[in-house]
């Protein structure tokens, strides 16, 4: 955190000053470790084993915050007797289908609800359906049977206990390389600092998400924080530190293939043929929770898109919507580019030649397009691959034979346009424009508004049905100034939503209607323009308001700063403790009150119980704080919605030098794989030849650089602070391989070979894992061939394997070989990679087995 989010880290230092204990878990000792109370070196890719150890420690010692757990979680719910755990299936759950490498989830359901989970989870994987749950859980029908004593062998609490019983301190040590005593120090401190009077916070970043089991890493963290009562309370939570100025915003208002604004799903050709199919799949009529209103959100979005053309009679132009048929994600796209299926590509402030996994595949894909539009501040590697890329040197890309037509369009910087960023805690902050962009530089707002205008002009008069969606589009934004810049405030106002009759901006999403009387660009952002005021532009000084600072910017939803803050009060609505009071029920006033905007219906009393047969928000009881979950509870066990299991399980990374010490199942059996000649995955046990790539490597950021380097390697005062690509190794690895400090080394994987200067440092350590010594090395991933400082790109080493829930790639751990000296150049470089592929058995036909246990064939009794 001190490395990549230094200014956020001031709050950790603030907490430390007040006596907080800081634990840092990382494969290498970083600037964060230097300030932590305790540092735990860990083998990259084993966090579920570590966290699972903490879950076991809590459950075995009954250290959970029992009142919180009983009232606010699904711990007491009883699960179907058809469910079979990884304990009994050697690392698989019941329902595994080897043909599709996915689960039939019917056996995972609560008792009596087994008809619920029969979705085609392979299809959900392809559309990254899990991302939808960024704002809410899957629906569940009715109330499952409960055992408030938590003694029933099939209640969630007991199932969890059995599932994690294997994650002993000894096992943690064996899998993660974290010595047992250190693990216990962490488990003790975490549990001692949680409960009624105290809370603990968990902070993670892409070190958790970029794994083939990434979603389950975070799930394990969520289980711990829920068991300990650290959710929805001040000083608690699970804090995702995101790495781009508006990456949260670009998920909420998604430039993502599978989502529409506000986490509405992009329609699927088979499941969402009609408007009703689509809307009902979201709201699930008759089921509980706030998604009951989704018909209004969906209709209002289409109304914002197609304006007057969208009417209740024509299902708000739903027929115009494009449909998904499967995986259309960025990595599938890149492989399709290589295969010649894609004509044109826009790059908007992103540099995949350096920043995405498997840089070579990225560049080869771009070299096989008809046209490419790059919009950036600087001449980045993704714009010059045809000229300066590593493949030009190896002869794989010959400029005179590369047909890709490239348009480089300079972009406006953040001070040359106005608009909002949504930062990591869902806070929208409006930026004022300081000056006009230079020369031809323009904002994306300008570019896309005028591109759209031109497309519509060119299509004017078209009678093609396919062109109606463009021609009927509501695309008349006011513009201003000599550059004819569209008004960002007008767009924000549309995002907020308005009454289509009076044009009045809506006060919030509760005003959304499904009859065409409201248009809302992104329902979760509704309220950002309440009272016709740009709430995101509010800048009341922190000196002039309380510590929650509700009048600085605007947070979704409804300006709530802490989600699920109803959980900061006990079931009766009283603060759990005076020290930790945040939001509570005021019986006199008959409403919820506190420091923050209550994340609960304002006047629903704690004693409210839903009538029989209630659905939608009405079905949420007065003591159910997790209102976006269909049952108002936090889920320790997830009966559906997570594709790789109802509970997290330690799997080895897709590339590992070790056989999984915990189960016969080696790696995530449902991970998304792309067999393709360009994408050779290094062998892992039980496959042969894993010894060809004996070392574990991981990559991350340096404080001094930013992601793929465009915004730092071109900026002199940053470039000089970290002027060269390097690799960090322990003295022990340096001795084993013969590397010297400030000398050269080259790293080889089944995809690429890259070189770097060597920093031999005590900050890295070998680990003793399952009786073996495992060496790890670390690389920054910021470098490329353009800019003031250049170097080989670490991400070139990675192959493409994705998490099944969200299709994020495993680019925080891989295997490689390390050799002293510089890498070969030209065709000799390709020969070296080919030689490694030959030695590792990575032929074009090679397929990594997904199920590595015989239990896969048994498939549970229900299947």
């Amino acid at each position: 955190m001190a490395e990549a989010h230094p200014v956020g880290f001031q709050w950790v230092m603030e907490a430390k000053k007040r006596g907080a204990k800081v634990f840092h878990v990382d494969p290498r000792f970083t600037r964060t470790s230097a300030l932590a109370d305790t540092y735990l070196p860990i083998r990259a890719g084993t966090d579920i084993a570590l966290l699972g150890g903490v879950v076991r420690y809590i459950l075995e010692n009954e250290l959970d915050f029992r009142e919180y757990v009983l009232a606010y979680t699904n711990a007491a719910s009883i699960v179907s007797e058809r469910f079979v755990d990884t304990e009994d299936l050697d690392g698989l759950f019941s329902g595994y289908q080897p043909e599709t490498a996915s689960y039939d989830q019917t056996s995972w359901q609560y008792e009596g609800q087994e008809r619920n989970g029969g979705e085609d989870t392979a299809k959900e994987r392809d559309s990254a359906a899990g991302l939808r749950h960024e704002s809410h859980g899957m629906p569940v029908p009715g109330q499952p049977p409960q055992d408030e004593t938590l003694q029933h062998p099939r209640c969630v609490y007991q199932i969890l206990k059995r599932h994690f019983s294997r994650y002993t301190p000894e096992m943690v040590e064996r899998v993660c390389g974290v010595p047992k005593e250190k693990f216990l120090e962490l488990a003790r401190a975490w549990t001692e600092n949680s409960g009624r009077e105290r809370t603990g916070a968990l902070v993670y970043s892409v070190g958790w998400t970029q794994h083939s089991v990434g979603v389950q890493y975070i799930r394990t963290g969520a289980i711990i924080q829920t068991l300990l009562g650290n959710i929805g309370r001040p000083g608690g939570g699970i804090l995702a530190l995101r790495g781009h100025a508006s990456i949260q915003g670009s998920t909420d208002i998604p430039t993502l293939f599978n989502l529409l604004p506000g986490y509405l799903p992009m329609p699927h050709h088979a499941d969402h043929v009609t408007f009703d199919d689509w809307v009902d799949s979201i709201s699930q009529p008759g089921k509980k929770g706030f998604w009951g209103n989704s018909r209004a959100f969906a209709a209002s979005l289409l109304k914002a898109y197609w304006g007057d053309a969208a009417t209740p009679e024509n299902d708000f132009c739903y027929g115009y919507m494009p449909r998904m048929t499967g995986d259309h994600g960025t990595y599938q796209q890149v492989l399709n580019m290589i295969d010649g299926k894609i004509k044109g590509y826009f790059l908007l402030g992103q540099n995949p030649a350096v920043g995405s996994a498997h840089g070579r595949a990225q560049r080869l894909g771009m070299a096989n397009l008809d046209w490419l539009v790059v919009r950036d501040l600087f001449m980045i590697e993704s714009a010059t691959f045809w000229k300066n890329g590593p493949e030009v040197e190896t002869g794989e890309i010959v400029p005179q034979e590369c047909r890709t037509e490239v348009f480089f369009l300079p972009a406006a910087s953040h001070v040359e346009k106005e608009g909002t960023f949504t930062q990591t805690q869902r806070l929208l902050q409006w930026r004022e424009k300081a000056l006009d962009p230079p020369g031809d530089a323009r904002s994306e707002l300008w570019f896309f508004y005028h591109l759209g205008r031109r497309l519509r002009e060119k299509l004017a008069g078209s009678t093609h049905p396919r062109d109606r969606a463009l021609l009927d589009l509501a695309w008349d934004y006011p513009t201003h100034g000599p550059l004819v810049e569209p008004s960002a405030e007008a767009v924000l106002r549309e995002i907020n939503g308005y009454d289509t009759v009076t044009n009045r901006p809506l006060a919030g999403f509760t005003e959304a209607r499904d009859d065409g009387s409201t248009a809302i660009g992104c329902w979760i952002y509704s309220g950002v323009y309440a009272d016709d005021v740009n709430q995101a532009a509010r800048r009341r000084s922190r000196h002039e308001q309380d510590w929650v600072a509700a009048e600085w910017g605007w947070a979704w939803p409804a300006n709530r700063r802490t989600l699920y803050n109803r959980a900061s009060a006990d079931p009766q609505g009283r603060p759990w403790s005076e020290r930790k009071k945040y939001v509570w029920w005021d019986p006199e006033a008959g409403e919820w009150t506190g420091y923050d905007v209550p994340d609960f219906e304002k006047t629903k009393p704690p004693t409210y119980r839903p009538p029989d047969g209630a659905s939608g928000p009405e079905a949420i009881a007065g003591d159910d704080p997790f209102i976006m979950q269909s049952d108002g509870k936090a889920w320790l066990y997830v009966p559906s919605g997570v594709l790789d299991g109802p509970m997290p399980t330690h799997y080895e990374p897709a590339e590992s030098p070790l056989r999984n010490p915990m189960y016969g199942q080696q790696a995530n059996p449902t991970r998304k794989v792309y067999p393709h000649p360009v994408n050779r995955i290094n062998p892992s046990p039980p496959e042969a030849h894993s010894g060809v790539f004996p070392y574990v490597f991981t990559v991350s950021r340096l404080t001094e650089h930013h992601t793929a380097g465009g915004m730092s390697r071109n900026v002199r005062p940053l470039a000089e602070l970290q002027p060269e690509m390097f690799v960090e190794v322990s003295p022990e690895l340096a001795a084993e391989v013969g590397l010297s400090h400030l000398g050269w080394a080259h790293m080889v994987s089944g995809r690429a070979v890259i070189e770097a200067k060597v920093l031999v440092t005590d900050r890295l350590t070998p680990l003793r894992v399952d009786g073996r010594i495992i060496h790890q090395l670390w690389l920054p991933y910021h470098f490329g061939s353009e800019g003031l400082v250049t170097g080989d790109s670490a991400n070139d080493l990675f192959g493409i394997t994705l998490d099944p829930n969200v299709l994020i790639q495993e680019s925080k751990v891989g295997t490689c070989d390390v050799r002293p000296g510089r890498r070969p150049t030209g065709p000799a470089l390709l020969d070296m990679v080919a030689d490694y592929q030959r030695r590792a058995g990575l032929t074009v036909e090679h397929r990594t087995p997904l199920a590595t246990t015989d239990a896969a064939g048994e498939r549970g009794e229900d299947a």
């Binding site: 932590a36 109370d37 602070l721 060269e724 003295p731 400090h741 005590d762």
Partner: protein, 347 residues
Amino acid sequence: MPDANSLYGPLDPAPDAGWADAPPRMGFFTDTSVCIGCKACEVACKEWNDVPASGLDLLGMSYDNTGALTANSWRHVAFIEQPRPAGHRTPPFAGNPTDGPVSAAAAAVAAGTGNDTGTDPGVPPGDPAAAARMAAGPEFLGMPGAQPPGRGTGAAERTDFRWLMMSNVCKHCTHAACLDVCPTGALFRTEFGTVVVQEDICNGCGYCISACPYGVIDQRKGDGRAWKCTLCYDRLGAGQTPACAQACPTESIMYGELDELRERAAARVATLHERGVPEARLYGHDPDDGVGGDGAFFLLLDEPEVYGLPPDPVVTTRDLPRMWRRAGLAALTMAAAAVAAFVGGSS
């Protein structure tokens, strides 16, 4: 003859330099125990003061690629990797299968690296043996690369480790030799008690460079003039905080009235001692030290040498009054002799 105290001992320097109604003396207190080594100070300083480029070399001195305070780097963050216990409750590498430490060896190799900073003398070439001592590890005897680091040192496994970071800056001494030797009046004492080189006056004579007991002052090549931290004199005049202190994410760099900072520093040392960090100590805070106390002082977690700071700096002009007395005496003697000769001659 000036008051000897103007050149040595405790003093409030601004009034002494003729600033009637001077505001309180302002300075920096840099608490290295909360420094995260982010280098925001280096960048913020360069941005505000338009400080030019200082070279693009990987120095291998941990994460320090700046190397030293130069005319083109007015803040410099030092990084020291040490196989020594820190505030960690459990040694960072306890229980890991580690061999001997390498910090000293790496520091020794790094000491051989140079960096063209575009300034003179710039980053001085290091001494490998000194570097090894600096990192407080075992003496490094082999040539770089001749012996793989971490092998053959005879040391047991490494368990303790700490990573020290410290943002260094001009000390704005109470008795600033640079200022005292400046023949043009380019270096002057401001009303805030700080020491500033005036770029419109400096003629590049370089006397200040050898006068500085900390090795802070340096000349810019091509330009020839001396440049260093001004404690953002222009910002101070507008009532603003210096750029580095304003940016510092963890308040490692604190700016304020020197008296108040000294109180804060004393309290911080006491707190750290209570929390089991006995090695915490102040550096440059003492008005009775060899430079009369620094306007920019530090809380360190090790001996000053470890951070590349002189252990006991003394203002190089301390002996000036005594020298002046002797010189005066000699002149008087000479004059007397001349008079005697003249008188004698005439008799």
